[in-house]
Symmetry: C2
Amino acid sequence: MVSFFFNPKSIAVIGATSNPKKFGNAVTINLLQNSNLQSELFLVSRKSQEISGLECYRSILDIPKDIDVAIILVPAKAIDEVINQCIKKEVKGIIIITAGFGEINEEGKINEIEIAKRCNNAGIRVMGPNCVGIQNLNTGLNASFIQTAPLGDIGMLSQSGSFGCATFYAMEREYIGCTKFANIGNGVDVSFSEILEFLNTDEHTQLICVYIETIENGRKFLETVNRIIPNKPVIVLKGGRTHLGMKAASSHTGSIATNYKVLKSSLKQKGIVLCENANDYITALKTFSFLPIPQGEKIGVLTNSGGSSVLFSDKIEQFKLELADFSGTLVEKLSTYLIPLVKVVNPLDMIGGADEETYYNITKLMLEDANISIVVASVVVPPFLEMKPDEHYRGIIRAWNDTDRKKPLISLILFSEEFKDLREHSRREKAAIFYTPHDATFAIKILVERMRLLKKLNQSNEN
Amino acid sequence: MVSFFFNPKSIAVIGATSNPKKFGNAVTINLLQNSNLQSELFLVSRKSQEISGLECYRSILDIPKDIDVAIILVPAKAIDEVINQCIKKEVKGIIIITAGFGEINEEGKINEIEIAKRCNNAGIRVMGPNCVGIQNLNTGLNASFIQTAPLGDIGMLSQSGSFGCATFYAMEREYIGCTKFANIGNGVDVSFSEILEFLNTDEHTQLICVYIETIENGRKFLETVNRIIPNKPVIVLKGGRTHLGMKAASSHTGSIATNYKVLKSSLKQKGIVLCENANDYITALKTFSFLPIPQGEKIGVLTNSGGSSVLFSDKIEQFKLELADFSGTLVEKLSTYLIPLVKVVNPLDMIGGADEETYYNITKLMLEDANISIVVASVVVPPFLEMKPDEHYRGIIRAWNDTDRKKPLISLILFSEEFKDLREHSRREKAAIFYTPHDATFAIKILVERMRLLKKLNQSNEN
């Protein structure tokens, strides 16, 4: 198991430096900035005596305690000696952040394999080389040179470090975050599958996301995924889905990107949430971070905007989803809260005058209705009649809370990204906002697909 | 012509009120709030003596001056008398904001047609009924009950008023805006085609966007579009592209949505920029607001993120676009600014250490290269090495400015919406940022399509 990498009792940074223009400094600062770090931290530096008040050792061998994990940032040409010292020190694992190996040329490839062999023979596991490192957000461990991810429910594996950074930015934007993060670079020893196994057992991790270009051992990867899928949704964005993309990927990681056409059907069959672009990837993370799995497929829609309702209906049909039929009883109940001008049909266009209370009452009635499994509350923020930009959303969320958030409630508030009060309320309430009909409908689609999958798995368990 | 609606010498608001819960108040306030309004404003109210210091008349007939445009907000049942007074007053045009006509039932349909006939016979043009009104952002005229659109280059026609509101929010977000805005509601007299003709002649309008559900006279619409397309890009989002969407649209406007399958090929053939969702619609507006039309199709890409470059390459192939081959000379020039670890290929991954100056120099070299017609500068904001979040973008924009913005430069800064300095710089420089590979590639696709169209039109003119 690789879990000790994420929960080390002690860490040594080899190649620590006070020069802020070096990655060795970024890793050191990232580790130091958490005053509650549960790992004992040691710095190894040839040049510095101390960094930010912490003593530096000349070599890992000078450290008076056992080391679980050594993080290596020395130049590629100096790495052999450092590896020897780590073996002598009997560390459990090494994270090689240093680049200039298999991603560069054949010689680098041979070098990194040789390093892994030597370490494995000594009982040491290796992450990297050419990686940004790992993070455990639940313990405050940032053993990487990138920014600390926001805290959330997601276990994240990213084959691109920089795409990992960018994903963190999108997570901040959406008020979601990580439990664990790993970028294993060239992946010479510790594999994606092992990280995934670990994330599967991790109690904090509710869902798993993977950005991947190359899958070295496809069969093992699929077997692992197969074990995880019944427990946790796995969201995958594959880079290198086309010839041009594969070419760029091979220049990026030095290995040949896995052919997407071959992979795609296997991944879909396993029940992976496969995203075709970066935007859908974030939407999927948001969806599973905030929304429960529905019990059925029928959708009820309320809105104050005809245009938004039309655009949403188009997406519903494109994604092969289904609107609920309103029962006579429901129509009667809904009517009591609506002005006579409103036609009580699904989608329900309540017209521009609908306010917080109308949204509250109508959302609640739909959430309580047995024929409706998913509710979409769609709003265009009204710029008139003294309405507050966040009042409709407040009504919606109140209704969701009053029904114990049992059904997925999708808030579609068109192009409302710039309404700060709205977004602050969303953050406080730990509830998502979707900003376009596409995103809202994609969310429903993947929730419905997960429901179908779990039903199918339950049935085959019963048989 | 309908241009007088957008440039009236005098306006009367019939149904003005000081009650902030009424649309009559919203229109009044919107008109009053512009102290530089170039139209003389008169208010007509049964109840109020004055609103915000402006005298109210009991009837339009009491106003001592000629009225170009009367905006009507009285209830549907009171409208006949008001129409008669407008005819007697010999106004040039009427905007009927009042709802409760053709969108409700057959009787309403008959009523609105009768009103239009009576007005037309008296030489009066009618916009509406059931509309939110119009805006001329170049003169500060907001004759609608929705918020004033941001000022920009776009002439906008929206069949949904609320989708218009939402589009304004997205425009604020993207630092783009309108010249003119019109929502003509049930469109009983003044038609889409007439508004489009007007936008075509309007000197401020550089591009035109249309949200449409129903096209009453398809042939005329296509003829009009045909005349506009060589001068200005026309961007269309059609609501009601599916059966469900058409059903929702007919409930929304009271008329049957135009079948998209039939329309689609005609629109595409004419060279309309046809968007399949709301997100692409905004991306298209942004693209034509900020970027010049390219002279060729070959794309040069620079990036600091392998993952982002892979995802972008996938999109390039999906959209059938073309990467440029770097010439030997260009490779040589580029190399002088890059570290040896960097492979000088297209897309050019300069690795995480690339800073403002590297971005400036490489962007400039690509913009100056004769084999490259479109440059994509892709960034993942580096969270390390003390780099500033906006420095790469600053370098990129400097290079663009130093080459007189002759070629389209697409800044793809992945998921960077929350970097305020970056967005402020983008606003100041009047330059776009694209946040996902999809959006960046969609922008290139529509620019290339416009270039091909203009070339084709030029060729047929020469023959």
